[in-house]
Amino acid sequence: MQIDIRKLDHITIVDAVGDIDYSTSPELRKILLHQFCELKIPRVALNLTSVQYVDSSGVASLLESLKASRDLKSRFILYGLNAKVTQVLQLSKLLTIFEICENEEQAVKP
């Protein structure tokens, strides 16, 4: 999985490309937690447009990031979810827990 970070005016976007599974989720988790816990970024959006698959370890990483964001009163946004990723969050009963946007335009709106 490839992860890039873009810092915009009022938001940091984490672009993930590839599958988020047991092999790759630790790296994503580390990067997301770094944004919230060390850098104290107030708004982070995870771009899942190019993510085809998320497993339970990926969901755990997203959940841990969400908790960190709430502890710091930051915002954590997911966008670009495809049907597979949406299905996994639905199965996890977590779809309504996350702030989810359709696309980047919506995610970056002030």
């Binding site: 599958d19 047991y22 497993d55 339970s56 299905q87 996994v88």
Partner: protein, 155 residues
């Protein structure tokens, strides 16, 4: 013991980096068998979680241990239209599975602060597949997953 028709057998090492290879191959296989995209996703998720559990728990993260994955087409007896099912059998030589972990409590709606993601993998396996059977045989863990293949509409 299953008497289904062998479709595919894989022998792999317990390296998480090959999970994507298994997912790709079995996604194609499940499509050929007639699973819808949604059901295909459910099967792949269950399989992937089961393999991850073997790597994490049975082999405690070791990367060079043996896993065998066998995929069969079963004929399911019943009245009326013959039913087929997709069977996945995973075998490993690792630590005996913790039976308690194999039967997680149902997911509940819980406040975010109290949520813990542990057990999610087993939840996916049990929810997505029609049958989940575990046994220990000759020093190996044997996990059997079965999912019925929907009957195609006839016109």
């Amino acid at each position: 013991m299953s008497r289904g028709r062998l479709l595919l057998r894989m022998e792999l090492r317990s390296n998480p980096e090959v999970l994507c290879v298994v997912r790709s191959a079995v996604t194609r296989l499940a499509t050929l068998l007639g699973f819808s995209e949604s059901d295909n996703n459910l099967v792949i998720l269950a399989l992937d979680e089961a393999l991850t559990n073997i790597i994490r728990h049975a082999y405690q993260g070791q990367r060079e241990r043996y896993i065998e994955a066998t995929f069969r087409l079963l004929q399911v007896p019943g009245s009326g239209v013959p039913q087929q099912a997709f069977e996945i059998v995973l075998e490993d030589e690792g630590l005996p599975a913790d039976v308690k972990r194999l039967n997680p409590l149902p997911l509940q709606e819980t406040p975010v602060e109290e949520l813990k993601p542990g057990g999610l993998g087993m939840h996916f396996i049990r929810t997505n597949m029609d049958k989940v059977e575990f046994r220990r045989r000759d020093g190996r863990n044997v996990l059997r997953l079965v999912k019925a293949i929907p009957v195609a509409d006839s016109h």
